[in-house]
């Protein structure tokens, strides 16, 4: 089972209490949502702030090194697992190893870093230490400049997907040949249609979770090009999105989706159904964020949340959460 548990708010679970069961049933039928919201408590570990200007995404290597896209500063910053500054990759510019407002990133099993260098219309690849390896240009779409906002790489680093935000499509590249392998999607609200695909997560080299911002959903497709499911939908109720931005999937298959306007992170089951909302064990309520965007959950069940406007990376522990 999970290393954390789901609890019920405002109600103490007493297995032997028939009275409590009755109350629960009554509230299920009539009570407001506040009395029936499932929370996943996350223990706050530490923050990294004061060094970013509107950061957007985060990725964590197997060795625990934390990489944060510090896009307006035109760089990637690396930190130790405890949050100590390690080094910086890149600077503003257009040359190799330089960035123009990058947004998303990913990391493969060997630790290589993939950055969606948005306004340079390319993906750049670096070693774990930040040495430039190569760049792969993202082609125009019928004359419209590519707008790569995120990259999702397979574990072995053979290929990756790119979200072409402005052109509402998903592109697949072969890294070895640097060639575009396939292009998926078009503008729209149906399956395999997008309105501003943004950040992504590739789960187990198979399922690609794509935040579809204006469609207010996460669309899941697989590497075989087949539609899997939608996660979430339009609205401000639980399981709904107003401005979904970031997505990540933990090792058990639970998907985490940030909503930058509502300031919450919601969890969904692998089938796409609502699971819970990230909670604050101190207040006992929903944990609120300010413009949360990029997310990452590492193998040790640490959740990394990037808040763009405050310029902050927050790290939480999902182990033993109440």
């Amino acid at each position: 089972m999970l290393g954390w548990r789901t609890i019920l708010v405002k109600c103490r679970w007493q297995r032997s209490s028939i009275f409590s069961v009755a109350i629960l049933l009554w509230l299920t039928a009539y009570g407001s949502a506040a009395y029936g919201l499932e929370l996943t408590m996350a223990k706050h570990l530490f923050d990294i702030k004061g060094t970013f200007n509107q950061p957007s995404d985060v990725a964590v290597a197997k060795n625990g090194t934390i990489y944060v896209v510090d896009g307006v500063n035109g760089r990637i910053q690396a930190f130790s697992p405890s949050g100590s500054y390690l080094f910086t990759i890149g600077r503003p510019g257009t040359g190799p190893g330089e960035f123009a407002f990058p947004l998303g990133m990913d990391i493969d099993e060997s630790g290589r870093i993939y950055v969606a260098d948005s306004r340079n219309h390319r993906i750049q690849i670096f070693t774990a230490k930040g040495d430039f390896i190569s760049e792969i240009p993202v082609p125009d779409d019928n004359g419209n400049k590519a707008d790569p906002t995120d990259v999702a790489v397979n574990d072995s680093g053979k290929w990756f997907f790119v979200a072409d935000n402005n052109n509402h499509r998903i592109l697949k590249f072969d890294i070895g040949s640097k060639k575009l392998v396939n292009s998926y999607g078009k503008p729209g609200a149906e399956k395999w249609e997008f309105r501003y695909p943004f950040l992504m997560h590739l789960h187990h080299n198979k399922d690609l979770y794509i935040v579809d911002v204006i469609n207010t959903r996460v669309q899941v497709v697989n590497t075989e090009g087949k539609f899997v499911t939608f996660v979430g939908g339009w609205g401000v109720e639980k399981g709904q999105f107003f401005r979904p931005k970031g997505v990540t999937v933990d090792k058990k298959g639970l998907a985490y989706v940030s909503d930058s306007y509502m300031g919450v992170i919601q969890l969904f089951n692998i089938t796409g159904t609502f699971h819970s909302v990230l909670g604050d064990p101190v207040s006992g309520g929903v944990r609120k964020f300010t413009t949360p965007v990029g997310l990452f959950v590492d193998d040790s069940m640490r959740l990394y949340v990037v808040e763009m406007l405050p310029g902050r990376l927050s790290v939480f522990s999902l182990d033993n959460a109440q």
Binding site: I18, F19, A22, L25, W26, A29, Y30, S32, A33, A34, G36, L37, N53, Q54, S56, G71, V72, F101, L103, S118, R119, T149, N165, Y196, F198, L199, V211, V213, I214, T216, W234, G235, V236, E237, K238, F242, R243, K245, D259, S260, Y261, M262, G263, V264, Q266, V277, V286, T291, V293, M308, L309
Partner: protein, 745 residues
């Protein structure tokens, strides 16, 4: 009932009521019809129109209830798309400086009703923006989603009133300008109006994305790069004395800003809220004679920022028309209001800015000259003389001559201790500012001078002076005399006791000499390397050789000697005067008269006197002797009986036809009673008494009607005393063949 039964009944009640109430509720309270798709398209921005808020009137587990208000474009809402997820405005809108939000408009600013404020009266994104904004002539990339057309910044000025009107309103000009908007500004986000050269608010200000003060497209603090983007030619002011960051770091402009905050340009000029002259940023007097001078004097005064650069003493005149003086410099001229106007305009005047460029034009010049020695003069190549010559064209001919002290007196220094190499050729003799005398002389003049015009020359041409090899001494042409009193009319300049030119003045050195031009006939002749001069050059104002133009200007009748037998250039070209000059070198006058440093006082005679009793005759005999150049014209007998008490009253006026001068034998002075000398009967400067003109150039044999005789000589004079005996006596005195022994009395 026992406790278990009670629980069971209560449980049944809950189940019943749950089923029953749920059913009745569904029937009685049907939710209103919803249209999720169309509602979403609006509510994607109109957050408050989401059904949960707008219809149900409640919040959710995730977010609180949101009241419906009119405008939705809050910062948070805008950023929810402009964070890169739909559009990326992170760098431009949400980075660094931008138009303020979450603040009320400045006091006194009237915000038109079409620009809503939030409930607290603060500006928000929606104050200017709406997703339903008007289209704009400037294109969707620039003006979409704004509430009014911003064509040529028209929307900006709906709130920011009073920023137009140009300098007359104390603002930087907007509208079509002369120069194009520089590409480097456009690349930084600067926007030009519908015309390519149209300056609008957004040319300098960018509402979003500027890291600089006042949303400027470039930094205008410190080195004021924004101003210099356009006004590149003003960049020479950087690091000069007029860079107040350097020279007056604590000074403040009229907005209370120090130079670092205002930027180097803002220390003196304001783009908005400036004075109407030159957008001046400092206090100016209410009334003024000349506004351009006011700008300078606003700092260069005793209480100002530059008291050490006061305009004290005598200075070059300003507020004068150069055109009226016949000067045509390639320099800017201004009207009294301080506006630069065309040179030909009637109101065009020379002002401070005519000679000074307070911004020190040109980087090349800046590299060559380190302020303050440059004095912000409008010169290329660091030579002030090049500026002076713009107006003083003739005076510039001094360059390369003996009076160019860079060559002939490099150690000579002016009153400021500047050598010619430091002050340049003009400055070593003239101070444009701070001179002690009105003629701007740069050298110390004796305090009790009686004749300043002469003293200027004597500051160098004196014993132990810089020009002590050219000191005036011995017997020289008189100065400090009024030619009018001598019956002389001249076009040469005369000078008053203050050293200024005056028509009724007296003769000074400068009457005959032009110290700025070595050769009066050849302006391009600078004399070479410290040459010995002669009558053709020597800074003479007019030529003396080969024609006696200069001397003839005063001594008009004497100039008739030219091309007569007394013109030694013709009759004795190899003869030399006492200074060893041939007539060609000395000129026709100089062959007989030495102007400076002569040995002989009387008539400044240039030759050794000949024999004879009277000095006048001795001068004639210096040539008309057996070994002289006039040896062919030596009268055998040339003396009139002496001590006859001959008187000439009535005949002693030069203007009269019967002029018959008598001379003092010792001094040559005119007398009314004395002995007859050669010059009593001969006018040595005029061959034919009836022909007031120069000679023919031919060595003529004379007769009684010419031969340098005075007109009355053969006509009247002799007869006056000797009656019918005159002819006999004349021949007796001048023709040995006719001389016979005198009959015994």
């Amino acid at each position: 009932m026992n406790r278990s039964s009670t629980y069971l009944l209560f449980l049944l009640f809950l189940l019943f009521s749950t089923i029953f109430l749920h059913h009745t509720s569904s029937l009685a309270d049907q939710p209103p019809p919803r249209n999720p798709n169309s509602a979403k398209e609006c509510a994607i921005c109109h957050y408050r129109w989401i059904d949960t808020f707008f219809i149900d009137g409640k919040g959710t587990d995730l977010v609180p209830y949101e009241e419906t208000t009119k405008a939705v474009a809050s910062q948070e809402m805008c950023f929810s798309c402009h964070d890169g997820s739909v559009a990326d405005s992170r760098g431009k809108v949400y980075n660094d400086h931008r138009h303020p939000i979450n603040k009320p408009p400045p006091p006194g600013m009237e915000i038109p009703a079409i620009f809503p404020l939030d409930d607290k009266g603060n500006m928000q994104c929606f104050t200017c923006h709406t997703a339903h904004g008007v289209s704009s002539e400037m294109g969707i990339e620039r003006a979409v989603f704004i509430r009014a057309s911003n064509d040529n910044s028209s929307m900006c000025m709906m709130c920011h009133k009073g920023k137009e009107g140009g300098p007359a309103a104390g603002n930087h000009p907007i509208g079509t300008i002369k120069r194009p908007i520089p590409e480097k500004m456009l690349s930084r986000g600067s926007v030009e109006g519908s015309d390519k050269k149209q300056l609008i608010c957004q040319t300098c200000h960018t509402v979003h994305g500027s890291p600089y003060d006042n949303f400027l497209v470039d930094n205008n603090r410190d080195s004021a790069q924004l101003c210099l983007d356009c006004h590149e030619e003003k960049g020479g002011v950087l690091n000069t004395g007029h860079d107040l960051r350097r020279s007056a770091a604590n000074s403040k402009n009229s907005k209370g800003q120090n130079p670092e905050k205002s930027g180097i340009c803002g220390a003196c000029h304001l783009v908005h809220g400036a004075k109407k002259v030159a957008l001046w940023a400092r206090e100016l007097p209410d009334k003024s004679e000349n506004r351009i001078q006011d700008l300078c004097i606003s700092c260069h005064n005793r209480q100002g920022l530059a008291p050490e650069k006061l305009l004290k003493g005598y200075a070059h005149p300003v507020n004068i028309s150069l055109k009226d003086k016949g000067m045509t410099p390639d320099l800017p001229v201004y009207d009294l209001k301080g506006k630069q106007i065309p040179f030909k305009s009637k109101e065009a005047l020379l002002t401070c800015l005519t000679c000074h460029d307070p911004h020190q034009k040109g980087t090349d010049r800046q590299a060559k000259m380190t302020p303050p020695s440059s004095s912000f003069l409008r010169v290329e190549g660091g030579q002030p003389e090049r500026l002076c010559r713009q107006c003083h064209v003739q005076q510039a001919r001094i360059v390369g001559s003996d009076h160019d002290l860079r060559n002939t007196g490099p150690t000579t220094k002016n009153d400021r201790g500047q050598s010619a190499l430091e002050s340049d050729v003009c400055g070593v003799c003239h101070l444009v500012h701070g001179a002690q005398t009105e003629n701007l002389w740069a050298r110390n003049v004796p305090g009790k001078s009686t004749f300043p015009a002469q003293d200027l020359c004597l500051t160098c041409h004196k014993s132990k002076g810089e020009a002590d090899k050219k000191v005036i001494g011995g017997h020289s042409h008189p100065v400090d005399i009024d030619p009018a009193k001598k019956g002389i009319n001249t076009k040469l300049p005369l000078y008053d006791k203050q050293g200024k030119k005056a028509g009724n003045g007296v003769i000074a050195c400068l009457t005959c000499h032009n110290p700025h031009q070595w050769n009066p006939q050849k302006p391009e002749d600078h004399g070479g390397n410290n040459p010995e001069g002669n009558a053709k050059n020597s800074f003479l104002r007019l030529e003396v050789a080969p024609r006696p133009v200069l001397c003839g200007n005063c001594h008009g009748a004497k100039a008739y000697v030219e091309k007569t037998d007394h013109d030694l250039t013709i009759t004795a070209p190899k003869a030399k005067n006492m200074q060893g000059q041939t007539p060609a070198e000395s000129g026709v006058c100089g062959a007989c008269h030495i102007i400076h440093n002569g040995k002989n006082k009387v008539r400044l005679w240039a030759r050794d006197y000949g024999i004879g009793k009277g000095i006048m005759d001795r001068m004639c005999n210096s040539c008309h002797s057996e070994t002289g150049s006039g040896r062919n014209k030596v009268p055998k007998v040339s003396t009139h009986p002496e001590k006859q008490l001959i008187a000439n009253p009535g005949r002693n006026s030069k203007d009269q036809a019967n002029y018959f001068p008598l001379f003092d034998n010792a001094t040559g002075a005119f007398k009314t009673v004395g002995d007859i000398a050669c010059s009593s009967c001969h006018d040595v400067h005029q061959w034919d008494p009836k022909q007031a003109s120069q000679g023919t150039g031919n060595n003529l044999e004379g007769k009684a009607t010419n031969s340098f005789l005075r007109i009355q000589t053969y006509n009247m004079i002799c007869k006056d005393c000797h009656g019918l005996d005159s002819l006999f006596r004349f021949k007796y005195y001048h023709d040995s063949k006719k001389r016979k022994p005198m009959p015994a009395p």
